[in-house]
Amino acid sequence: MGSLKPVGPESNEAHGSGFLATRADFLINWGRKHSLWPMPLGLSCCGIELMGLLGPKFDLARFGAEAARFTPRQCDLLIVAGTLTWKMAQAARTIYDQMPDPKWVIAMGVCSSSGGMYDSYSVVQGIDSIMPVDLYVPGCPPRPDAVIDAVLKLQKKIEREAPLRRLVGTDSPADARAEAGTGKLVFQPNRGLPKGAADKHAHDPKSRLPFADPLPRKTGVKP
């Protein structure tokens, strides 16, 4: 589990023939986490720190995430760096939708995490009200080191994902075990997706489930 070593210390035969035994989930996650392609959405001063991060001094290439592309269709890591206004929110959400699955989001800086000091009419009070967020990086702006830490934490998070479960559409491994031997079809791709969603390409944003409107924020209310 969770390693790429050949099976058994004594299986020289298998080793010599070029076989590896591992979990498919682990192998897929291992590939994904070391080849993140960031989409830099630099909206204000955090964007400058993001440039420093991608440059030679901090060098995100050491963690396999240096291939920044300026089209969301080639990226799987959205880094929202800076103050997101409501006018820009539609563009940001469109960029998120255009990214192919699987995809992750880092909210870089306090502005994108919570609105920051802009407790104001024009600023989105946290980008989690318009898209799901995996990691929040505090700082105004955060140093590139902090974003490197976020990328490393995201790699840990990707390790815990189960991409095969998404493929076969079972809700949990327990479900799959319960169905085994009962005569029911275990392999049910796209189970639980809305009707017609399977007709579309998996990368089509229209085939994704909607992200619910957030609950209204309670301000100044103590539990």
């Binding site: 009419y121 318009i130 229209k206």
Partner: protein
């Protein structure tokens, strides 16, 4: 006049402006940062034209508004002018009886965006403006944020985004049916 003795440049500027405006009724109180020309709304455009053509103010550096709520009339329009030839600045102040004012984009095309911003933030309509749309807030927003009665956390700032999001999802549901 002690002002003229202390500051000959200011005296020259004042007399040049007075000559340019001629018989146009105006007040000219001094402020710490130079002369302020106060005109009625009816004379505003003529005064700006005279300053541009006869006093050498070839640049309009800023157009903005001040909301004096709750006094009425509440809006005062300010044009800040610059003369490169005379190294001189002047401000033109005009109290607006309503919420509309003549545009000055025919005199200074660069005032286009400043008037759009002023319209966006205060709701002052500039008559004759070639393209009076909102500049900073999204199109379709109902309020003008720099008015005094506007709460600084906004009035439904996410309404337009939610509308857009719902319409988008509805169209997808229509397609997949």
């Amino acid at each position: 006049m002690s002002d003229a003795a202390a500051n000959p440049a200011l005296a020259a500027s004042t007399s040049r402006i007075a000559a340019a405006l001629g018989a146009l009724p105006h007040g000219m109180p001094q402020s710490p940062d130079g002369p302020v020309i106060e005109v009625e709304l009816a004379n505003l455009h003529a005064a700006l034209r005279a300053l541009r053509e006869h006093a050498g103010f070839e640049l309009c550096t800023f157009v903005t508004c001040i909301d004096h709520y709750p006094t009425t009339p509440r809006f005062a329009l300010h044009h800040q002018l610059l003369s490169l030839a005379h190294n001189d600045r002047v401000r033109v102040r005009c109290v607006l009886p309503g919420e509309s004012a003549p545009t000055c984009t025919d005199l200074w095309p660069g005032a286009n965006y400043m008037e759009r911003e002023c319209f966006d933030m205060f709701g002052v309509r500039f008559e004759g403006h070639p393209d009076l749309r909102r500049l900073l807030m999204p199109d379709g927003y109902d309020h003008h944020p720099l008015r005094k009665e506007f709460p600084h956390q906004g009035i439904e700032p996410d309404r337009l985004y939610r509308q857009w999001d719902r319409a988008r999802r509805a169209s997808w549901a229509e397609e997949s049916r």
